[in-house]
């Protein structure tokens, strides 16, 4: 009898201590979250995470630079000829093979909108901002963009064609809110 009581009692007694200890640990864990989360971007910073951009004022052949999360974003309204030229490139000629269509997204109707090309305007080599000129050599040999820092040439799909840059100009996450309204910063 005595032996059983001695054996059982500690377990029953310990239970309350285990419960209290667990509750303290769990509570501390919950309280740790605000202490960690306060270092994440605050609401005012997050409100700048996406921008809306209306492309209806853009003229054919023109490029506009929008500022998004502190980075330049190239939004280019390409001519029919430029689109055709981008489409015609042989993938074997490319350092970072990608078709022009792979670099576009669909509008609200589900069809690709090849006239608008959106890229992040930062050279993938060492971070300079490439120059734009579709008509002149200032825009590089492929009449897209040319990076003046170390001479990377991008074509009018933003793909690297010549020079030290390892990859094509990056495409930011964006989507079409309407036929002409882009939201940059959120995935489609």
């Amino acid at each position: 009898m005595d032996a059983t009581t001695d054996k059982e009692e500690p377990t029953r007694r310990d239970f309350i201590h285990i419960a209290s200890g667990t509750a303290v640990v769990v509570g501390t864990g919950f309280f740790a979250w605000p202490l960690i989360d306060q270092m994440n971007p605050a609401a005012d910073t997050l409100s700048l995470a996406t921008i809306d951009f209306d492309v209806s004022d853009l003229e054919e052949g023109q490029q506009v630079v929008a500022k998004w999360q502190g980075k330049p974003v190239f939004i280019r309204y390409r001519t029919k000829a430029e689109i055709a030229e981008a489409d015609a490139v042989d993938l074997d000629d490319l350092k970072d093979p990608q078709t022009d269509n792979e670099r576009l997204i669909a509008g609200p109707d589900g069809k690709l909108k090849p006239e608008y090309l959106v890229t992040i305007g930062i050279c993938t080599h060492l971070g300079c901002v490439p120059l734009f000129d579709p008509n002149d050599e200032k825009g590089g040999e492929y009449r897209g963009w040319f990076c003046p820092c170390h001479g990377s040439h991008y074509d009018n799909s933003g793909r690297i064609r010549k020079g030290p840059a390892p990859t094509n100009l990056e495409i930011p996450p964006y989507r079409y809110m309407s036929d002409t309204l882009l939201q940059i910063g959120t995935e489609a």
């Binding site: 209290s20 605000p34 202490l35 306060q38 605050a42 609401a43 910073t45």
Partner: protein, 428 residues
């Protein structure tokens, strides 16, 4: 620490570490030491204060990540924390309300010390180090209240720093106020240095707390009977007996803290501090935070500027001498019927001084009639605070010293163990 060490390293790793850095031994001996077996809930406020200090440190360090100590941005950055920073709405009020809660706990802790004679031989150094902690808390609390740079912040800073203008420049060799301000008025440089010092002081407090606890481990805790520990039967190990009791008390205290924090966060503050600082417009009624009110009342009770400042600092200074002013051989007022009554009157006087500090000096405590011009007359708060101030100082300088010599204490139990076992017959 009292008694031999209770730590016996068992594994090889523990022995290895113990021979090189006996940190586990330090921890064990800090927590497992013999404490009187009869400590009541008034003894839990030490642990509550430790928790509050850690809470203030954590929230304070976090606030410093978002706060900008510049007159143009300080107020805005507090709003930024409350509106934009993730959980800022929780952490900023937690720090502000937490300061009030910490002072609430420290006052209970101090009153307990006075009542049970915890300041007296052999615990004088615990009390004095504790008073240094209290002074550092006052300084940290004052400078912290300036940081939001609202109307009460700047005007509190102006009024308090101007206390030092009572020191004649010839005596100090320079204008003390200009030196404090870093300019000709309370402005950017003042705010910036207050921020720096506000960040520093809590670490000094931590250092003093370590000394406070160290000093406590020499004679161990006082207890409600005030009788020294005589045998092992008088004691229990601090852990687990008092760790679990303190933990329970801490959680109850946190519930009170949470109630203020979540449901009435503005109750301890002043609405004027939601108005950005304006050095050209004084609010009609400046009051310090509630925990300074008794001293503020003493300051205003004295009609002379320098004497008022001396009285205010003297009110704190006299506490340092408490261990020697209380001349009674009996520690606990439980066995001192007269001292007990004077003590409760002293507590009421402190509360009354706090009440006076919150009122305009010319307001009436109660009206006795009207004067010739038809204005109500009666006891004004300034006169009420004068009466209370006299008692405050008399309590320490006259009542306690004389009472110890003339009062006949009640019979005390023979030992802590005897008091616990209900055997109150013992030494007289």
């Amino acid at each position: 620490m009292s008694g031999p060490s209770r730590y016996n390293p068992s594994t090889g790793i523990e022995k290895w570490l113990d021979a090189r850095l006996p940190i586990i031994r330090l921890g064990v001996d800090t927590l497992i030491f013999p404490s009187p077996r009869n400590l009541n809930y008034w003894w839990t406020f030490g642990a509550i204060l430790a928790v509050m200090l850690v809470s203030q440190l954590i929230t304070g360090i976090i606030l410093a990540m978002h706060y900008v100590p510049h007159p143009e941005h300080a107020f805005d950055s507090i709003q930024h924390i409350n509106r934009n920073v993730n959980f800022g709405w929780l952490l900023q009020p937690m720090h502000a309300v937490g300061a009030s809660m910490m002072f609430l706990a420290v006052y209970i802790h101090m009153f307990r010390g006075i009542y049970y004679g915890s300041a007296k031989n052999p615990r004088e150094m615990i009390w004095i180090v504790g008073m240094v902690i209290y002074l550092l808390m006052m300084a940290a609390g004052f400078m912290g209240y300036v940081l939001p740079w609202g109307q009460m912040s700047i005007w509190g800073a102006i009024v308090i720093t101007n206390l030092f203008s009572a020191i004649p420049p010839e005596a100090a060799g320079t204008s003390v106020t200009q030196w404090l301000w870093g300019g000709f008025a309370v402005d950017g440089p003042t705010l910036n240095r207050f921020f720096s010092l506000h960040y520093l002081l809590p670490f000094l407090i931590v250092g003093m707390v370590i000394l406070h606890v160290w000093a406590l481990h020499i004679p161990s805790n006082n207890n409600p009977t005030g009788i020294s520990i005589k045998t092992k039967a008088d004691t229990l190990d601090f852990h687990p007996y008092y760790t679990v009791k303190d933990a329970f008390a801490i959680v109850v205290f946190l519930m009170i803290f949470s109630w203020f924090l979540f449901f009435m966060p503005d109750s301890m503050g002043h609405p004027d501090n939601y108005i950005p600082a304006n050095p050209f417009s004084t609010p009609p009624h400046i009051v310090p935070e509630w925990y300074y009110l008794p001293f503020y009342a003493i300051l205003r009770a004295v009609p002379d500027k320098l004497m008022g400042v001396i009285a205010m600092f003297g009110a704190i200074g006299v506490l340092f001498a408490l261990p020697w002013l209380d001349t009674s051989k009996v520690r606990s007022m439980r066995y001192r019927p007269l001292a007990k009554q004077f003590f409760f009157l002293f507590v009421l006087v402190c509360l009354g001084l706090g009440w006076c500090g919150a009122k305009l000096p010319s307001d009436l405590v109660f009206a006795t009639g009207v004067d010739a011009d038809g204005h109500a007359k009666g006891l004004t708060f300034v006169w009420f605070s004068r009466i209370l101030t006299v008692y405050y100082f008399a309590y320490f300088l006259v009542i306690l010293p004389i009472l110890g010599l003339v009062e006949k204490p009640k019979p005390r139990p023979a030992s802590i163990e005897a008091s616990v076992l209900g055997n109150s017959k013992g030494e007289a």
